[in-house]
């Protein structure tokens, strides 16, 4: 089970970025600045301002990942999927929605907020903007390594028709009741392609060997280390 890493993009406490423009590993503790449309897309976009914060950070990281891989522009829809691992999902949006629902026994419940209380909705936003017709889902799993979505994608690429999967993590800062100050909030995605891409100098081959994930001849133990290695070897 193997795939080629052809793009990396993120929005973290380190800011917005993409792999080919820096050598600094961006997954770090700190506060997250929610991006504006201008920081992510050059063109005016009516929808971006309506998105909840969870969707904005996820969409921003996916945009930068595809940009990094030279895949942001498209003409024909393409069989790329998305696997986004999340611990808290859209819990902050759930809480915001409840603030509209509870006070008046549902009379003022916000339909716009409710639409974003399904964490996979931002994947739909990404799919329609970038023409992605693969499988799109949010993954919840106890996983401190950050590698679960990559493992999921590597397994699925073997038997699915998708040519690639954008796999990564997406989490806002946790609500106060869960915060411990050590979190690295944000969103980071890697484009894992089934085959090398013509005209793209990738970061390298990611491989599952039994339970071990291997990259550049060494076992990968966590997502920050993998990203750091990618940014170093590129």
């Amino acid at each position: 089970m193997k795939a080629w890493i052809n793009g990396i993009g993120w929005l973290t406490a380190a800011g917005l970025g993409q792999g080919r423009e820096t050598t600094e590993q961006p997954l770090c503790p700190g506060s997250l600045e929610i991006p504006t449309r201008k920081q992510v897309f050059a063109q005016p976009d009516m929808r971006f301002g309506r998105l909840d914060e969870f969707s904005r950070i996820g969409l921003a990281a996916l945009a930068f990942c595809l940009r990094d891989a030279g895949q942001e522009e498209w003409v024909e829809k393409r069989p790329l999927g998305i696997v986004a691992a999340s611990r808290y999902g859209c819990l902050p949006t759930d809480l915001a929605y409840l603030q509209t629902m509870l006070p008046d026994h549902g009379k003022l419940a916000s339909p716009n907020l409710f639409a974003y209380t399904l964490p996979n909705c931002f994947l739909g936003e990404a799919a329609l903007r970038f023409g992605l017709t693969g499988n799109t889902l949010v993954l919840n799993q106890a996983d401190r390594s950050g590698l679960a979505p990559l493992r999921y994608a590597l397994e699925e690429l073997i038997w699915s028709e998708q040519q690639g999967i954008l796999a990564g993590v997406c989490d806002l800062a946790p609500p106060a009741d869960f915060a411990n100050g050590k979190e690295s909030p944000g969103s980071l995605f890697l484009l894992l392609d089934k085959a090398p891409r013509a005209g793209v100098s990738g970061y390298g081959k990611l491989e599952l060997q039994g339970n071990k994930m291997m990259f550049a001849g060494a076992e990968v133990t966590d997502l920050p280390t993998l990203v750091k290695t990618c940014l170093t070897v590129k």
Binding site: K77, P79, G81, R87, Y88, G89, L91, D94, L95, Y97, L98, M101, L102, D104, H105, G106, K107, A109, S110, P111, F114, A115, T117, L118, P119, N120, C121, F122, L123, G124, E125, A127, L128, F130, G131, L132, T133, G134, N135, T136, L137, V138, L139, N140, Q141, A142, A148, Y152, E155, E156, I158, W159, S160, E161, P175, D177, F178
Partner: protein, 375 residues
């Protein structure tokens, strides 16, 4: 490639506990949709939902606990090394609503990690697994992944567990979106006016044929094909041309290596909303053309069970293949023109070995599973 079987099923729905009771209720044209008494509905556009009878939870516990207990007791033992794939869209959302209403501290239990651990513990599994959140296609996609993993030899047993609740959180949201029907919903009917919510718990044990033999499990059906695709069209509305569903159907047919005329029946998503049902009929006509088989939807009986919908419908499809019958689509009195001759409020006889199940959801996602009978 290993052949994939479903060897055990447990269901808890508005039509009672157990697949046989559910099946008999569907054949009798029963509906579990009735006025909700779980929360006040006077500010919502509907009072109707399909709630599981006698579902109760202690204070500051989720109703999901009661569903899990009833499903697990019904399913019995499963191999402890089975992978666990859970499909739930909102998990213990009733608990979150309660603590927010009381302005209490938010417990970790509202996250998916403790829920996964709880489910794994109840089924005595060694690994805690993961939750797949793909809106209303969650459990279909979980079954598709389970089948893909087993067929490719990446594992040989997967427990798919799916559950979602009728909660005020979701009910109020669909009401705010004007998506609820004030009356019992009427999937694929010309006069349909929206959906009714439902709730369910479902467990499906998938195994390689070889592992099932070793475990002395009789296959109920085979999982022959699967597909998943995004419309890449809109976040909450389906693509009018059904392009994502067409793609997912074609992937599943290719995986099953069958022609459209070999599909004996379709269990459609059939929410009862104007756009979903029209999209599905467009897609199925595009895929099947003149070979469009009989089709039905069960949400007029069970409501829309969200992340658990696909799992319940796959369980029902197993019975359809075994008994060669397709339950009627409750509420479908005047079928949409594109489904006429294929849809009926009465049960239909079918003849064949393959049945296609599909679900579509917010975020533009579509999931399809093709089951094969004759196991």
């Amino acid at each position: 490639m290993s052949r994939v079987v479903i060897s055990k099923i447990a269901t808890v729905t508005a039509l009672g506990d157990g697949l046989e009771l559910l099946w008999q209720g569907l054949l009798a044209g029963q509906s579990g949709i009735s006025p909700v008494d779980r929360f006040a509905c006077e500010n919502y556009i509907s009072r109707q939902a399909a709630c599981i009878p006698d579902l109760q939870a202690p204070r500051h516990a989720s109703l999901l606990d009661a569903i899990l207990e009833r499903v697990a007791a019904q399913l019995g033992p499963v191999p402890s090394d089975s992978r666990l794939l859970v499909a739930s869209t909102k998990g213990e959302i009733d608990l979150l609503t309660t603590v927010c209403r009381e302005e209490a501290k938010i417990p970790a239990a509202v996250l998916f990690e403790p829920l996964l651990a709880k489910i794994a513990r109840r089924f005595k599994l060694t690994a805690v697994g993961s939750n797949i959140n793909a809106a209303c296609a969650s459990s279909t996609i979980a079954v598709a992944r389970a089948a893909g993993l087993i067929a490719a030899g990446q594992t040989d047993a997967v427990l798919v567990y799916a559950a979602d609740l009728v909660s005020e959180f979701v009910f109020s949201g669909f009401s705010a979106l004007q998506a609820l029907s004030a009356e019992a919903c009427r999937p694929f009917d010309q006069q349909r006016k929206g959906l009714n919510l439902g709730e369910a718990g479902i467990a499906l044990l998938l195994m390689s044929e070889e592992r099932a033999r070793v475990c002395d499990q009789q296959p109920l059906v085979y999982v022959a094909g699967w597909g998943a695709a995004n419309d890449a069209h809109h976040v909450t509305a389906p693509a009018r041309d059904g392009s994502g569903l067409v793609l997912a159907c074609n992937q599943a047919l290719a995986k099953a290596e069958i022609a459209t005329e070999q599909v004996a029946a379709i269990n459609a998503h059939g929410t009862g909303t104007i756009y979903n049902d029209a999209m599905e009929l467009t897609a199925f006509n595009a895929v099947f053309g003149e070979t469009l088989p009989p089709l039905h939807g069960v949400k007029g009986s069970l409501g829309h069970c969200l992340g658990a919908a696909g799992g319940v419908e796959i369980a029902i499809a197993c019975k359809s293949l075994q008994d060669q019958q397709l339950p009627g689509t409750v509420g479908c009195l005047q079928p949409e023109e594109a489904g006429q001759g294929r849809l009926s409020a009465e049960s239909q006889q079918i003849a064949g070995d393959y049945l296609l199940c599909s679900n579509s959801g917010f975020g533009g996602i579509n999931g399809v599973v093709i089951l094969q009978g004759g196991a």
